[in-house]
Assembly symmetry: C2
Homo-oligomer: 340 residues x 2
């Protein structure tokens, strides 16, 4: 046994390492799994369709606060799964819910059920199965969502090529700022936000709004996509790694909401949380040059804002973020990792 | 506000009440969901097949002990889901795993991965997707399993008719006795079990063995089925309620393992845990009289023991358990309810 203080510290495992080392071997020989390198599995479905299946869990303390309203918690649990379907180019179809509940409180359950109902309505899918279990620990909500798309049209994570353009949907960073505001309400004053602006940002943390209308456009126009859940830069790095390319993201091109611009103006250090904080649940997509015009027009027609934020490059250059002057931006970390 | 001690106690909600009240409305209009009254959803699949989708979560403290070996925990998580597929008449196809982990310990993860691998091998399915999240609370493993069967052949929970025969697969009660032994090792001596017998029973708690080979036989011969997870009597009551029938189960017909017979001989009170304790993960099926012979022969051919344990009756008589003399058996509860 090592003496206290002299033992070699066990290295922390990152989420990708855990998956690669302990779970990818279990998916060997299953073409549906893509080696667990994508956010979803792909199965045949009736007719000329395929089924995209994805699962994401939200845990009290990590993804929401115990004090958050149950309808918001429910809404978020479905939204983060629908977000994966959207990025794959699939329309939401149905979902299964596993609820690990500290206590079966009727008013909490009623709020939770209402929030799920609102999310179903917003995203166009229904509950088809589930499981309810008691726990002494924190609330966990595990959801498996199924989406449909035409055969052969799933948008992969790894299909991007050097020279293509990186686009994001919606606005970036709102949720990461909203999370800080919900933990430290005084920040609103520091950032010069009025009540509505602060509520907008916390609302984006509590109720993500994945751009479901973009799914059919992505599957026709994008060569690669994923949803931005852990942080723009980290998720962009995943897309680049899976595609064998590098990339450059221009911070001054990021689509920011008015409250986010206000916060960033008051505290330039918030650029890090905007670019690496996560919880956006917007789409990051690689669009070939020849598709840009029609992609932008189709997105506008569907009422989804999209913005080019950079280019894909050769793999050698890695993923870089640069400011307006072309200077490289350095951040402590690229994204959120549960185990880092 | 009510004064301490004078407030009306809020009635506890049972799991079926939670589902009926808060979740069934969210499945309205989704024929795939069967009103959330079954253990699975049914979706179209490629060709002439359908897909059965089920989700079950195992939580530390409820379904396993923190001290259980990680390979056993993993094995059980997959087995309890495969058990639902088997009862529906579906062959295991693939699964998604959501792991909520207190700490990313390499040796624990390695054991967990090995156990999943053994279970995959035993049940014939592969991992196709998942999610890993950190938690401050207990370990939760949420699994969504998908199974395949020919179109129109899913065995429902509610298809049984009065006069049909109730069968179970395997042996009943081993796991409920094994759970007690794992919590109170002294019971082995009280029950007169040698080390191997005690290990057999705890092994049945830790590694359920759903009779996957029975799936294709059930879909041709059974009018209704479900897996026995919460307790034989409670699960039989669910089958009866869904089918609009009553039933009678004869305790002396129950298939018991030799160690279970030994324990029951030493402590007649253990009949309650055998009949209501749960964790069997065997199948309870309704078999029409005309199908009995071929059902039994086919099960024997597949190497699965099945035993007739009673009959279905008119709905008026409810579900009853009787002993050899025909006297009714009364138990405090029919099965395990997480929230009761």
């Amino acid at each position: 046994m090592a003496e206290a203080g002299t033992g070699r510290r066990r290295p922390a495992l990152s989420e990708p390492e855990i998956i690669a080392r302990y779970f990818a071997p279990l998916a060997k020989g299953a073409p549906e799994a893509f080696g667990l390198k994508d956010d979803a599995a792909l199965l045949p479905f009736g007719g000329d369709s395929e089924l995209v299946v994805t699962t994401d869990t939200v845990v009290q303390g990590s993804h929401f606060h115990a004090s958050d309203a149950p309808d918001d918690i429910a809404y978020k649990a479905l939204a983060v799964n629908v977000s994966d379907l959207t990025a794959k180019g699939a329309e939401p179809y149905c979902y299964l819910l596993s609820l690990v509940l500290p206590h079966a409180d009727p008013s909490w359950l009623s709020g939770f059920s209402n929030g799920l109902g609102e999310a179903q309505e917003a995203f166009g899918c229904k509950l088809v199965g589930g499981d309810t279990t008691a726990t002494d620990g924190p609330l966990c909500i595990s959801l498996t969502a199924l989406g449909r798309l035409p055969r052969g049209k799933m948008v992969p994570r790894g299909g991007a090529k050097a020279g293509e353009h990186l686009y994001v949907s919606g606005t970036i960073g709102d949720a990461a700022l909203g999370l800080q505001l919900s933990e430290e309400p005084n920040l609103a004053q520091q950032w010069g936000l009025d009540e509505d602006q602060a509520a907008y940002l916390t609302g984006r943390y509590r109720r993500p709004a994945p751009p479901v209308a973009l799914a059919s456009i992505l599957r026709d126009r994008a060569s690669a996509a994923l949803d931005i859940s852990d942080g723009l830069l980290g998720d962009a790095a995943k897309l680049c790694e899976a595609s064998g390319v590098g990339g450059e993201i221009q911070s001054h091109q990021l689509p920011l909401s008015r409250p986010a611009r206000q916060a960033l103006g008051a505290d330039a250090g918030q650029l890090a949380s905007i670019m690496t904080g996560g919880d956006d649940y917007q789409v990051l997509a690689a669009i070939p040059g020849a598709q840009r015009e029609v992609f932008e027009a189709a997105a506008a027609g569907a009422g989804v804002e999209v913005r080019a934020i950079g280019r894909l490059t050769g793999a050698d250059s890695g993923l870089n973020a640069v400011d307006e002057s072309g200077a490289r931006l350095q951040f402590k970390r690229l994204s959120y990792d549960h185990f880092a």
